[in-house]
Symmetry: D3
């Protein structure tokens, strides 16, 4: 039986959704059908808290749409893990963010890891997530290559700058593994693992296999407390369609 | 010279905005003009992560509108402190959430405090914020009275149930202070302080005096790193108006 | 292509190895061949630090034997995760303990989980692991049913006592998920999930899907620092066969 | 109605008390009358634990004197926050130390801050307070300019060395704000904020607005447990006058 | 060669000093001469922060006097460890507080311990010290028997109430050891160890053997940074005698 | 009356056992007879997790043998503190590891210490122990001189490289004390203390005086919970002799 997994790129860049889809499908096992999508509203890329906050409504609409379409689980494919708690309330199936998946995967690979991400202004959020996910001590460093998200695909120097930063994470900080801090780097993990000499973890792949595992084991978000379905209530203005409906079946876009 | 302070109720309930406005004005000093507002879009009350996530776009529009109208600072008047980081990027002036203000205020009043909030499903978020704000050890307990936000005004038993829980926080957990975990309880703090015998902190009032202090001292969010203004970029769909514009002057609703 | 995964029961009880093997195979995907083994030396069950320490040499011999036999990864199927660091040095492929797998899996299912284990004297070790794996705050409680490991299979009351404790973890501690704290409980997870109403996580299954994921992504322990293969050196006495050999290919039993 | 606030310089240097008074009055709102005082006994400056310990009796006598004179609240204007807990027991009104006020204020201004203080031997105490106040993770660095407290006023190079260190805190540690770690730097905050480009927080001003806020909201130390008034008892020797009296009205000097 | 060790009771109660001296001498080895002293000024007992703060000047004078008299090391025999940092600056030899000694000793005896102390209002300080000494997780509970310090000797029910609380620490909190939270309980440890069935640690004895060990190994406070001798400077008022002198040889009382 | 203390070198190198014995005897008081031993089976040196795991069975046999021979307490003389929990279950008397003893001793000597050890691959374990023992914040740095354990005695440059690293720990990290991270450095502590100018702590000596103190005070591991004697059960294979026997009197080798 095929399992349907929805991988959501929370920004609205179609080419990045394609890249993420390729990586996700490469990670998925034979029984999993990956659908890579992006929201119909929101920012073209997510590079600050403002972008992240505004990506969430569209992301949640995609979660609801995916649930309606029979998705057994969801991946949120942005390293800030935007909207994760809200998506867990909304979805019947498991929801995993790529930062949590990547950081937790890295803890199985040694004592310490480092994160290599895009812009310095996002490193604070990465540290915040490391704290939330309980890996603050295992996370030795968070580095930025100062390449905007959408230029990862176009900047010819991107690959070598990322590789150089990964190598430095190992040499200077003595890390046993490296985590790539952006879904737009998903295609680089295998090449970098070979080049750097320690495992380099892509969160998209890590989240795909994590969700696959949860689905196979019949595990999903606990629904008896904090993560119960949102209570239906009035939503006004441009977001009115998000309210109402019966619990667990919110209105889709 | 009068200072304009914007107090934003992130839900769309006008009567709750009024109640918050009264409490905020009671807390403000003579030189401060308080404007209490709520967004034009979003949920009628915020009682879960989903509600919170969908309250943020409207909240951010209000921050932008307030900035354009000359507000020197902003209060986010919901105990989950929704959108705080994004609002700090957006605003030139300081932005303070009522949970951070209340929790930090409580730390000046003794060693340990407890939180009394509305619904049990929101206690996880309160603990998360206590961790983020560094007061996890000082926060001895988070209690819920199981009264929905909008029934705080209408339930005749609300006041006595909240008072009973506050008293128990002192008797059983040995707390030196109590924090009220909902903006809709803002009018109860002085009465409860007298009744319970330890200081009871309302976050709306605490945030108002915190923002007043920051404005008077000429202090605002540091803007050279993580909290720099959002970079203008394309936003699509129902949120298109949030994108573009020059840095620091995003489009208002 | 079939992937060979070795699941090691570190105690020497064959019936428990069988039970673990059944659970592991039920969790594994179609491309994985699970081999469930136990050491030729060591204690019949692991119920204290002494037992755990003395289970490790035999466990390490099994890791080496599995590596020689082409195992792509290993599961250590005892909730104390005995010998995990040493096994990671020894194996080329990934090694995952069932406590780390179960605890980390539980963090994807909500905010807080509880552990239900066998004997009270092992709860200290469970807390120690929760700290090491960074989930101390997420772990709300560790409970013991006071049933010795090998009586889990024979005590007719075992099932209902475990179920009662799981239910209490949800009711009293407000947990979103429960972790079963013994490999001997591996067969109970699905039934308990249905009965208790929140996800109940078996570490054997969680570790199997975790190792499968790591193998599929080509990720294994970082080998350039702490987890490099043990340097060959003289070992004396009953453990002499553990020394010598070339790095990465220690002598098997 | 005017509120009387006592700002206590715990050392016995009159010129430093004057400087602190000027800064405190500049921070205070229109309804606040600031009285800046220093003890009649103790060290001329506080630069180590020994100095700090011996400053406390005189400081407590000033707290008692201020209470008798009708002070509504107190600021302890030394960055080690000496005697804070004891003063909270003694005073009916709120008591705030400048380190706690400055550090907590800084947390409203971004994710990370750094401290610039006088002597390297005091940095251990600053870290200890950061831990106590729950901002250990937010505090990225504590730097010393190696200028003794009383030379801050006379050393012509002091200002530029402090500015250089503040700039480095931003450049090297990526801080969003800087905290000045000595009451003797109180007059520099506004100038440095302009020069360094991120908010620079003076603890004296931060504590003044914090106490003003607490007084306006009717909040003071919880008095039902740890911070109840000291029980009257015999004190002997040079400190005999500190004992006796009725609870809450200790003998003044 | 005999080693002179000074055990300082920081309150001014002679009978309690005698009791402490007896316990200290019982703990000391054959080569150690214990001198038990108390300050000439300060409170008759220490039961709150105010008492503690005012006990410190007299305590420091005793440290200086002991140094002049050739003491090789010092014990501060009050469970709040008052003046510890200042005493370490002042003394050439090691200084150990009974709370740190007792708590650290308890960590060698199992995983978790509980503290049984006198008054509930002092439990906050005990928790603060547990955090400072890094044993917050090992300290499972802090209990108060609500007997004032000086009544420990006279209250006929004291012994049985303390024993009952110790027993409950084991039964309810599963502690492996109990720490007595007051120097006035020093004579009870051996009896309680037998009665309760787990080790009961008296801080006076623990500190005596700790200081003996440090002296024998030639270890004392590091003096090149934070704990260098206080710089001589002017002290005024009743504490004038504390200032001046050459570094390391402050004026004694 | 003479107290018999067993100091166990967990590796099988006789010359290192001799060196440890000399240091231990130098640290012991007049009433203590030190017996320095090493296991009959296991690795010649301990330099990774694998070595450590395989040293434990022999170590435990020595603990049992020492108990049978009347040892009042035990020191585990390897900086990884291998087998500590198991040994505490097995022994009636106290058991102390040299890492816990050294780290805790260092906390009495100032605010921060650094560790200087042998190989970089062991630093992860040192950090893990610092966390377990609650001194993560006090431990400023862990450095490796990259000299294998058994070359400490033979490498003519060892002494000066260790001294240089200790000096750098003070100069660069501002530490008040240094901890030597290997039992093979036990003879260097006094010389280095003089050379470096801050106390340098050898764990063997620190553990000897710690155990002496515990024995003198009649304190030993709490035996009513986690550390109760191992329950007798079947052990198979080369470790069969470790099983059986009555609780508290396991079979010796």
């Amino acid at each position: 039986m095929t399992v349907l997994m929805q991988v959501i790129n929370p920004n609205t860049s179609a080419s990045m959704t394609d890249l993420i889809g390729v990586s996700a499908r490469a990670a998925a096992g034979p029984g999993t059908e990956v659908v890579a999508v992006h929201p119909g509203m929101g920012p073209a890329s997510i590079e600050c808290h403002y972008d992240e906050a505004l990506a969430v409504p569209g992301l949640l609409a995609q979660v609801a749409a995916g649930e309606a379409a029979g998705a057994a689980g969801h991946v949120i494919a942005c390293f800030g893990d935007p909207g994760l708690d809200a998506a867990r309330e909304l979805a019947a199936g498991p929801v995993v963010g790529i930062a949590e998946a990547a950081m937790r995967t890295a803890t199985h690979l040694g004592r310490r890891f480092g994160v290599v991400t895009t812009l310095a202004r996002t490193t604070g959020r990465a540290w915040e997530l490391a704290t939330r996910y309980g890996v603050r001590e295992q996370c030795a460093t968070v580095r930025a290559v100062e390449i905007p998200v959408l230029e990862l695909e176009t900047d010819p120097a991107a690959r070598s700058r990322i590789a150089a930063e990964c190598a430095d994470v190992v040499a200077r900080d003595g890390c046993d593994a490296v985590v790539l801090g952006c879904a737009g780097m998903a295609d680089l993990a295998r090449e970098l693992t070979a080049r750097v000499g320690v495992p380099v973890v892509d969160g998209v792949a890590a989240a795909v296999v994590t969700v696959e595992g949860l689905v196979r084991l019949g595990l999903t978000t606990g629904k008896r407390g904090e993560y119960a379905p949102p209570v239906p209530k009035a939503y006004s203005g441009a977001l009115a369609r998000f309210g109402g409906g019966s619990p667990g079946v919110p209105q889709t876009v």
